[in-house]
């Protein structure tokens, strides 16, 4: 390894360690390591100012393909501003929806539809969790769904833990179905130039087949916990969906903007609008229609997460420019012996194993250049490797309480309601479901693409 590779690897490993230790804010860690990558690796070791310019990727804003894609696939390196703009826009939209009471209204409305009966609520909330997570980040989905679940479970005389665990799994599964469902997918799609339709017709099929298996799995796993203790609550004590709406006007606008976002995302391959354009438009429309609330929405924007992504992209670009990730690609090539089945299996199961214990966002960002190299070197279809990476990172994270952000939020809400979830409890339910989905995904990818 040359000095630049050693420095890049050291910075990256320190970044990962600091992210795990959580001693400093995540965005502080990635930004500092990104800066170290620019100064030490590109500046001092490589003496290559053009690498710094490429890594910061500001020029992408003036490229027409950043805003409008005329069909050609363009892969990007460095800071993926498309991802940043899209996430920022969706954050503003979700904040607007949350403040109008949309999520709480939806959850209670569905629960009321099934007369607040535990088993139907259990199944319906799993499906709702997966469906919402296809378009909205799973953290937000679980934040609202788990809170309503805990409230309803208390009224029904149930432990909320089984319901919340099933919802978490389905949120991660639903997120894997689309390009905008999970951050790794946004990064994969934006970096490799895939559309919403590409994802839904590939990872979406895997997620759908998996849902058909996972819903009965969780039902049978938790069926004994769905019997209420006592005589059950008085029906009049259950919340009314109408009370969840804080502003009728805001609620109507939120529903409209959400519907527009879904339409724009579903049709973006046809319209040519990139996710950056969609994110920016949705964010701006939300702000314009929010009136006096616009300032509050901007204030609530999760800048820390956006900065985390920016720092992360720079840090990963250091590994990419120095050719360090090519070494990782060569290792995968060596282990697989050039056998494409083994290579795909390594990517799915290796990504899943890594994502079960470390943040899947930096992992996915790191692996994109690796699969790109593997595709070029071995002549394997890049899309096949991309779907393998997407499914591995999205689903693997479900196996442990720390594997995905939704898991942390869901188990935290359960604990706040007096039901702490241990690793044992969590993994007993989720790990077999994770393995089941990974087996299904591996089989589908082998049969369909290889």
């Amino acid at each position: 390894m040359v000095p630049a590779q050693i420095a890049a690897t050291a910075i990256f490993l320190v970044m990962f360690l600091l992210l795990v230790l959580e001693k400093f804010p995540r965005h502080f860690v990635t930004l500092t390591c990104g800066l170290a990558m620019l100064v030490l690796v590109f500046g001092i070791c490589m003496r290559d100012p053009s690498a710094i310019v490429d890594s910061l990727s500001f020029k992408s804003f003036i490229s027409p393909t950043f805003w409008y894609s005329s069909g050609q696939v363009e892969t990007t390196t460095g800071i993926n501003w498309e991802t940043i703009l899209f996430i920022a826009g969706m954050m503003i939209m979700v904040e607007g929806m949350a403040s109008s009471g949309f999520f709480r209204w939806l959850c209670i409305k569905l629960a009321r539809m099934v007369h607040f009966k535990p088993a139907p609520i259990f199944i319906l909330f799993m499906i709702l969790s997966a469906a919402l997570s296809m378009f909205i980040d799973s953290i937000t989905v679980i934040m609202f769904l788990a809170a309503v679940t805990a409230e309803l479970a208390r009224l029904m005389g149930l432990s909320p833990t089984p319901l919340i665990l099933a919802e978490i799994f389905c949120a991660n599964l639903g997120g894997s179905a689309t390009m905008c469902g999970d951050p790794p997918n946004i990064i994969i799609g934006a970096s490799l130039g895939y559309s919403f339709f590409d994802f839904i017709s590939n990872t979406g099929i895997i997620a759908l087949v998996s849902m058909v298996l996972v819903v009965p799995y969780f039902y049978f796993f938790f069926r004994k916990h769905l019997i209420p203790s006592g005589t059950g609550a008085d029906p009049s004590s259950f919340p009314d969906p109408k009370d969840a709406i804080t502003s009728k006007r805001g609620f109507g606008i939120s529903c409209g903007i959400f519907a527009a976002a879904v339409v724009l995302l579903v049709t973006h391959a046809q319209t040519g609008l990139t996710v950056a354009t969609i994110g920016l438009s949705i964010g701006l429309i939300t702000l314009l229609t929010a009136g006096k609330q616009a300032g509050m929405l901007l204030k609530k924007l999760d800048y820390a997460t956006l900065l985390f992504f920016i720092g992360l992209f720079v840090a990963v670009s250091g590994l990419e420019y120095t050719g360090t990730l090519e070494l990782l690609a060569q290792l995968i090539q060596f282990v697989s012996g050039g056998n494409v089945y083994i290579m795909v299996a390594i990517i799915i199961w290796g990504s899943a194993l890594a994502s079960a214990f470390i943040d899947n966002i930096p992992f996915a960002a790191t692996m994109i250049p690796v699969i790109r190299t593997l595709s070029l070197a071995q002549g394997v279809d890049l899309q096949t490797l991309a779907w393998a990476l997407s499914v591995g990172t999205d689903i693997g994270g479900s196996a442990t309480p720390i594997g995905a952000s939704a898991n942390v939020v869901g188990t935290s809400i359960a604990a706040k309601n007096g039901f702490p979830v241990t690793w044992g409890q969590y993994c007993k339910a989720q790990a077999p479901a994770t393995i089941l989905v990974l087996v299904v995904a591996t089989a589908i990818i082998f049969v369909r693409y290889l």
Binding site: P401, V408, V409, S412, I413, K416, G418, P420, W423
Partner: protein, 199 residues
């Protein structure tokens, strides 16, 4: 008692900190908050206390825990935060009390009525007390003391800026082996009464 008074007692295992805190609570006629905080939280929110007890004053494992936007998957963290909220709420209500451990010297540091105490002791003193109380061998007592103090230190330092047992974080640090439990309590009572007079 008209003036609000909060006494926080942190302690080394075997130093007699619990005994001192109980006696101070009796002498000042104040409630003592220790593990009973969880009982009160469980009772108030209709929770099962057996689910919460294993995480009382326990450090989280940093390799099996993660924080996302203020949410943590660690039950230890959740239980600690429940107790911190409870203590702050009581302090805000103007209630006077004695609290044992639970990072109270930092959690309640903004309340001028707080008197924070750390009780330490000589190893021999702690060992004798531990052997007598838990009916253990010398080796077992030393092991138990080391393990309990390590656990308290990690728990404390995960939640506080100041380090556990660092004299700069407490109003008074006292070695209970020098005067014994009774006389140490007398000393502390005098100190607290002097502080109370100045409040």
């Amino acid at each position: 008692m008209e003036k609000q008074l909060i006494i926080s007692v942190s302690r080394e295992f075997g130093s007699g900190g619990h005994e001192i805190a109980s006696e101070l609570a009796r002498r000042f006629n104040l409630p003592l908050y220790d593990k009973n905080i969880l009982e009160q939280i469980a009772c108030k929110h209709n929770l099962n206390i057996r689910r919460l007890e294993p995480y009382d004053e326990a450090p989280k494992n940093i390799f099996t825990s993660r924080n996302v936007k203020g949410f943590s998957n660690s039950p230890e963290e959740q239980v600690a935060q429940m107790q911190f909220r409870y203590l702050r709420a009581k302090a805000d209500e103007g209630v006077s009390f004695v609290v044992l451990g639970r990072c109270a010297e930092e959690v309640l540091k903004d309340y001028p009525c707080l008197v924070s105490i750390f009780v330490l002791s000589d190893i021999a003193f702690k060992k004798e007390r531990t052997m007598a109380r838990d009916n253990t061998s010398e080796e077992e007592a030393l092991e138990l003391m080391a393990r309990a103090d390590r656990r308290r230190k990690y728990y404390h330092n995960q939640h506080c800026r100041g380090k556990w047992g660092d004299s700069r974080n407490y109003d008074l640090c006292v070695n209970s082996a020098c005067l014994g439990i009774g006389a140490t309590t007398d000393l502390l009572e005098g100190y607290i009464r002097s502080r109370l007079a100045l409040m």
